[in-house]
Amino acid sequence: MAADDIRLAIGIRVADDIVRARQAGRDAARTLGFSLTDQTRLATAISEITRNALHYGGGGQCEIKGGQVAGERLIDVVVTDAGPGIPDVAKAMTPGFSTGNSLGMGLSGASKLVDSLSVDTRPGMTQVAMRMHRRVVG
């Protein structure tokens, strides 16, 4: 199997797309054999990050890639928007920090649910990359 057994992209333009993205993430995680708890972790993290992209970034795209490589199941989610960027990422990662209407838990919350989360941001582009991986047992 290759690392891109699953490859899909969901446009984030309206609130319904947040639901579509998190469900697609859950479906992908399920297909790849992630546990129910991991499916929920990933779906919840996607929900947080795509909502940020919609509310702060004016919308964007959520790409989900996954597969099995070298005895590991792996899923990568990249959420990109063309918004103003996050002025202070460290601050945005602080639990409870909010620049808007209660959305500040997004980044810090999501980072606790996945194995890694990185943020690349500047005026005109913000990209949040999340990864979850598990060793395949048996």
């Binding site: 609130a15 319904d16 947040i18 639901v19 998190r22 469900q23 859950r26 129910l36 708890t37 499916q39 929920t40 972790r41 779906a43 919840t44 929900s47 947080e48 909502r51 639990p95 209660s102 959305l103 838990m105 997004g106 810090s108 919350g109 999501a110 606790k112 649910l113």
Partner: protein, 135 residues
Amino acid sequence: MRIPILRLGEILLAPIQSDITDEQAMQLQAEILKLLEITTARGVVLDISALDVVDSYMARILTDTARMARLMGGEVVISGMNPTVAIALIEMGRELINVATALNLEQAVDALKARLSSFDDHDGIATGRSVSHGG
């Protein structure tokens, strides 16, 4: 899609039957508060057993709805949280603070009925309201 709100005596039952959008969650909140105003219902059970994602936004709406209802003189119990949802919420550092919770719909209804009848024993004046505060 509208979330149905059923009436069982003085209790409103709102079973959220599938993953809902932010707008649907806000609409449900408004409808619950409106029904507490215009009907004789005093308690609400929000059953979330079919919700497989409760992110920080949804957690906030659930908490706010319970607080708003309490401010009006009503009581909300949230029932049936899926175990994986509880795990994700706690790992994120989120909880439903000061919100009454129950394991399932039946226990939520029983708890609310007991709560509402205990209010009646005190001339309908609510003091120190709590059912089983989760989180």
